[in-house]
């Protein structure tokens, strides 16, 4: 009894199928392309959709960065990166955004704008934004085809009536290229504007739900909102209305994680660890100069 694995774990037919689905997804921005989705050796829900895209695209000349919650060293990111290193001999991995050509991420888009030679792969638990208003996939497919997002807009409107505020925190429904509304994966609202006219290709992979979709480069991405109630990102202002800085690097332009100290007080640090390190590094250089 012996077991050998192909480069990239999956057999070549499977990788080809994923690549064809990606091409279709790019051709129809925001459309959820169904694909067969193989079982990966990590749990459904741990990024198997993103991983299948990564493994199908990766070649020996690629440099991969894997992040989870903004961090390269979180358990799941390490796990995925090690799996790619194990099954794709010769592939480079990095934690530096500017060195990466392929970035797989869960829940975050890096703070520094992506470049045209980079591809971002986002892991997706729920690919369909309409699932909050319609449980049947069959019916949702028709609604997407007809660009019928009335019930989603009504949900936003009801939020405003009830709470005076749209209460969707993450997975904010976003209209792509003027037609399909996507679930941009559980990125915070902070990251949604980064989808708009992105120079980099952004791919979304939902392994369990067997869907791939894309926001191609330089494509319109508009979060659903109303003329009089604009879309708003998370606020990191303190009680006085001043923007909190990251306590480690001092940045005031990044998504912050909130920590509770032993004494009950709070502390804020960048969620994007590579960005935090870079800002810290640059400030040291400035200090030396």
């Amino acid at each position: 009894m012996s077991v050998t694995y192909n480069f990239g774990f999956m057999d070549e037919h499977a990788k080809k199928e994923v690549r064809r689905s990606i091409l279709k997804a790019i051709s129809i921005p925001g459309y959820q392309v169904p694909y067969s989705s193989r079982e990966m050796p990590m749990g459904r829900g741990f990024g198997t959709g993103g991983l299948q895209i990564t493994l199908s695209l990766i070649g020996a000349d690629e440099t991969l960065k894997v992040i989870d919650q903004g961090s390269d060293d979180s358990v799941n990111a390490v796990n995925l990166r090690q799996f790619v290193e194990l099954t794709c001999p010769g592939v480079n991995t990095t934690t530096h955004l500017n060195a990466a050509t392929l970035i797989q991420s869960r829940h975050r888009i890096p703070e520094v704008p992506l470049t045209p030679n980079q591809t971002l792969v986002l892991q997706v638990p729920y690919p369909d934004p309409l699932v909050v208003v319609e449980p049947s996939e069959d019916k949702r497919k028709m609604m997407h085809g007809e660009a019928d997002y009335a019930r989603l807009l009504v949900k936003l409107y009801e939020d405003i009536v009830k709470f005076d505020e749209i209460t969707i925190s993450h997975r904010y429904p976003t209209r792509i290229n003027g037609h399909y509304v996507i679930d941009p994966s559980p990125i915070p609202r902070w990251d949604v504007p980064k989808l708009h006219n992105s120079p980099a290709l952004i791919l979304f992979g939902a392994g369990r739900e067997k869907k791939i979709y894309a926001v191609p480069p330089h494509t319109k991405a508009e979060p659903l909102a109303f003329d009089d109630v604009p879309f708003r990102v998370e606020s990191f202002n303190d009680a006085q209305g001043n923007r909190r800085p990251c306590e480690r690097c001092g940045a005031t332009d990044s998504f912050l994680d909130e920590y509770i100290n032993e004494d009950g007080s709070k502390r804020y640090q960048c969620s994007d660890s590579d960005y935090c390190d870079t800002v810290l590094e640059n400030s040291k250089e400035v200090a030396h100069a």
Partner: protein
């Protein structure tokens, strides 16, 4: 100050692996590692469950999966399923003829006597579920003698090569409609995603590798009253099915090997025929790799329920193809349940932002109202 975000992931994973491995070997000096053959034979029903839920007929690898997952059925099926992803599809199997099965068990609850006869075979159905304390300290010599003695004392059975199917007799009598022979190739759920509505072959394939407990729960809901199948088991058979594949050179169907499987056909009460034809019974079909009767029965009941749902619309969850087929896969459901253990710091931060903002607005509006009242 160090960076507090989720550092040291790699080290933590290695530590977890070590502890897990240590627990597997925690018997210490007295421990004997389980051999793959031991698992395959002594835990044969567990192995059956894994080949079926893993969707790959490889009892040896299934036994290995059971060993490395320390007996967790979901994990073991998962490992086998992931291994399957590394294999290309070489050909499409033709429909196999289950009347050719080499049977170890065959029963019908519809008829006292069936052509070919009932054959109880290995089953716990009529066993008293009392603790067999004699097994706690089994002598290896006695254990090895069990099979030997059985074979010595049992006369060579004179069994025919094929057993007729009970449902065929019902068809001949016109109590069941003739089987529809479909020219279309079966839907391959490993190569195509389910896009609803799906053909019956897709539903059957999905259920054939579904998690046993999930299928049972949904079928049970139908049996108890959230549905109206009221099945009778026309035939339940367990045995080795010869797998016929086209010969690579001549193209002639050739036996490539055999797989242990369980097959169940349930007959349900007839329904009004909208086509004004003769009323007949209806059939539900279940089949899976390995010896797993509860799974085959549950699948047959759900097949019947789903056929009704596809035709007339679902009036119960077990009749709704999306509800049943998208929620019975063990790899999908256990993976997603487990993923909640991963960090969700970013999304929770975003949740708190929304709650704090709405709380603030709530406070503000209360103040305004109080101001208005004064």
């Amino acid at each position: 100050m160090g960076y507090v975000a989720i550092k040291g992931g790699g080290q933590a994973i290695r530590g977890a692996e070590d502890v897990l491995e240590t627990l597997r070997a925690s018997e210490g000096a007295a421990g004997v590692p389980l051999s793959i053959d031991t698992i395959e034979n002594q835990l044969r029903l567990l192995t059956s469950r894994i080949v079926s839920e893993g969707g790959l007929y490889h009892p040896k690898l299934a036994a290995l999966a059971i060993k490395q997952s320390q007996g967790d059925t979901l994990e073991a099926a998962f490992a086998l399923r992931a291994y399957r992803s590394t294999m290309p599809r070489l050909m499409e199997t033709q429909a196999q003829d289950t009347s050719k099965m080499r049977l170890i068990r065959r029963i019908s609850s519809a008829f006292k006597d069936i052509p070919g006869g009932q054959m109880l075979g290995p089953t716990y159905d009529y066993a008293l579920r009392l603790m067999r304390l004699d097994l706690t300290d089994e002598s290896p010599e006695k254990f090895r003698d069990i099979a030997h003695q059985f074979l010595e004392q049992t006369p060579e059975p004179n069994l025919p090569d094929t057993f007729p199917k009970v449902v065929e007799a019902l068809r001949e009598e016109g109590l069941l409609p003739q089987a529809e022979v479909s020219e279309a190739l079966a839907f391959d759920i490993t190569r195509e995603p389910l896009i609803f509505p799906v053909p019956r072959s897709a539903a059957l394939a999905t259920m054939a590798r579904a998690e046993t407990g999930s299928l049972l729960a949904l079928a049970y809901s139908n049996m108890r009253g959230y549905g109206d199948v009221h099945p009778t088991i026309a035939e339940l058979r367990v045995g080795y099915l010869p797998v016929m594949l086209p010969h690579p050179i001549t193209g002639e169907l050739t036996e490539a090997g055999e797989v242990l499987m369980t097959e169940c056909e349930v007959v349900a009460m007839y329904e009004d025929d909208s086509n004004q034809g003769k009323p007949t019974f209806t059939l539900g079909y279940g089949a899976c790799f390995g010896h797993n009767e509860v799974k085959a029965i549950s699948m047959a009941i759900l097949d019947r329920a789903l056929q009704k749902g596809m035709k007339e619309g679902a009036s119960n969850p077990s009749e709704d193809p999306e509800f049943v087929l998208l929620h019975v896969d063990g790899v999908d459901s256990m993976g997603f349940a487990s993923h909640y253990k991963m960090p969700h710091y970013v999304t929770f931060q975003s949740d708190m932002d929304r709650l704090r903002t709405t709380q603030q607005k709530h406070e503000d509006s209360k103040k305004t109202k109080m101001g208005d009242a004064q």
